[in-house]
Symmetry: C2
Subunit: 131 residues, 2 copies
Amino acid sequence: MESVFEIIAEPNRRAILSLLVFSQQSVGEIERQLRIPQPTVSKHLRVLREAGFVESSVDAQRRLYRLKPKRLQEVDAWLAQFRRFWSAHVDALERHLDRMDRPTSTQRKTSRRRRRPNRERDEGETRWRSN
Amino acid sequence: MESVFEIIAEPNRRAILSLLVFSQQSVGEIERQLRIPQPTVSKHLRVLREAGFVESSVDAQRRLYRLKPKRLQEVDAWLAQFRRFWSAHVDALERHLDRMDRPTSTQRKTSRRRRRPNRERDEGETRWRSN
DNA sequence: CTAGAATATACGTGTCAAGGCATACAAAGC
DNA sequence: GCTTTGTATGCCTTGACACGTATATTCTAG
């Protein structure tokens, strides 16, 4: 469980991180807000701390945990490689919509655009180059 | 294994996604580039497809897989809540550096700034408000 | 010094998913 | 038809890891 992604795969850990975005919190506060048993909270905090997502300060018997940005930025960095793709994809979608027949008024007469082979949706496969 | 984060927690799956950013690929091509046994590749592709990360087209006996942006954008959306925090944190760091003694030339004489209680590094806790 | 509050850790258990291997399925080419 | 190529699936084992419960640790207060 070293990788950033395995760490944030756990829903409770993500919840904890989301909590800490606002301000530092003690274990008990986290426990109460998220309704998670205390040992579970402590274990997740340990994982998060050892992974460098959070750090803690001692305040009497309390421990205050707060966010550290570095590791989450790693996720952001990994995601970066796909951003180019997104914009390209959005452009393609727009071009596609532009090519589509609009069911609005002032409809063109016979200008049927060339149909794409066949478009079956979601989870389906698209037959492509079967020539 | 429904959540976006569990899906991308698997290193091979992340590798596959990174590959597909450039262009669509057949199972065999992925297998050869990543040096992963073919059944493993197929299983991961199945997971990715059912989760909506990729889609496939049939090309003769090949299947060409390509990226779909939506799910990865969900990760980006989750990450968004932390971006505010990052900039705030960077600002704080800058202010901190400004307050620090610079070990450069034209050094002040005895102006030792107040030491923070004790600062033990990495994984350590910071003693805070123990008064 | 004792009681209690806040947090951490240990241990046992169940679940789930990844990987290896064999095999099934499908289309192509001869 | 049969063989080859490309891909999917089934079964089994193994290893993480999350959780619950109990207990240890540490600090405070009185």
